[in-house]
Subunit: 192 residues, 2 copies
DNA sequence: GTCATAATGGGTCAACTGTCCCAGACGTTT
DNA sequence: AAACGTCTGGGACAGTTGACCCATTATGAC
């Protein structure tokens, strides 16, 4: 698939390196085949941005599973994300670059907004899902919790990409898990 | 100055739009004058990255002033940053794009690391400065506090740039200020 | 097999990029 | 006035990019 080839190129070379020729080379195709499938390079990039949102959410935030110990569950989920980031830094780097690309490209600004709200609702889904097993009440609305999680991951991602300080990143996640857990209002074990 | 013209172009058009011609046009110069001052486009971009670090730190985080009410001081400082972001979104957008540009450009990766550590020590300076007036002790090392602040601002920046939800950003900052203030150990009013 | 459709390969084009060259203008020092 | 280095302007160059055209080859329905 050309879209996935494009994502690989972006991860390896950045958005600037994702030229039509580089993408078709990665996909093992010719230029003509590209313009047979897509009207233009911009059209492909639009699909790339749309695609990565869904893929990212399911692959990354699905590891966030709440349990009885909310702090530990949050911390484990955040650690899983950090492990994912360390294992494939270029991919997360590409995600943020694509976000900035969308913000800059006429006609794609709205997609950037959708991308972000998709992140949020993705985290909301995971939290809701987990809450089905062990009900948790939060001091603030669930979407706000999700926003804090997403904000944290993005911030930690940029920091780690810049200085590769894993220990510092983990200390940040410790703090984030502690602070978020403080927003959890443990439910009474009786029927409500 | 060509460096500042380049920053204006990047803020207006993004890093991809910061071509040599666009920069000299913004500066009102000719191409020859560019290559008289800089050996190459890459050399200018390196100076741009170096320049923005200092400028950014002094202009943004200087508003963070601690007082007796630590939570309020933190909240005010973060709000000042948000106001700054809203007043000139393209500038902060450019900062993050430049960070990603540095991370991708061979020979500039180390500059990205320096850029980030400069952010951190800038915040440390402000916090230390404020602590001189009203001494504050923290439950974790000061550089870690600074890292949390920087992480938060970057995360909030990306979120606001994507969905422009100012109210949500302010709720995030509420949470951040609360959580950070919880790390402050108020000093005893006697001599230690 | 035949034929229409889908898909591909090679080659070409204009536009844009970074870089460089060279003639000339400017200002300062003799 | 003359000479010097500093700086500027216009033009040109090769390389790369997105887009496109046309001839050719699979692919599959009948």
């Amino acid at each position: 698939m050309l879209v996935q080839a494009a994502i690989r190129v972006i991860a390896a070379q950045g958005v600037a390196g994702a030229t039509t020729r580089a993408i078709v080379a990665e996909a093992g195709m010719s230029l003509a085949s590209f313009h047979y499938a897509f009207r233009s390079h911009a059209e492909l990039m639009r699909e790339v941005v749309s695609y990565v949102v869904d893929a990212e959410i399911t692959s990354v935030f699905s590891s966030l599973r709440l349990g009885t110990d909310i702090r530990r569950a949050l911390r484990d989920g955040l650690q899983a994300y950090l492990d994912y980031l360390i294992a494939d830094p270029e991919h997360e780097q590409a995600m943020q670059e694509l976000m900035h690309y969308a913000l800059r490209t006429p006609g794609l600004e709205s997609l950037a907004a959708e991308q972000y709200s998709a992140y949020l609702s993705g985290v909301v889904d995971v939290l809701t899902e987990s809450a089905a097993a062990v009900p948790v009440e939060w001091a603030i609305p669930l979407p706000d919790i999700a926003r804090l999680v997403v904000m944290t991951t993005h911030g930690v991602t940029l920091a780690w990409l810049a200085d590769r300080d894993t220990a510092a990143a983990e200390r940040v996640l410790d703090f984030a898990a502690d602070s978020l857990a403080a927003l959890a209002v443990l439910p009474i074990r009786s029927v409500t």
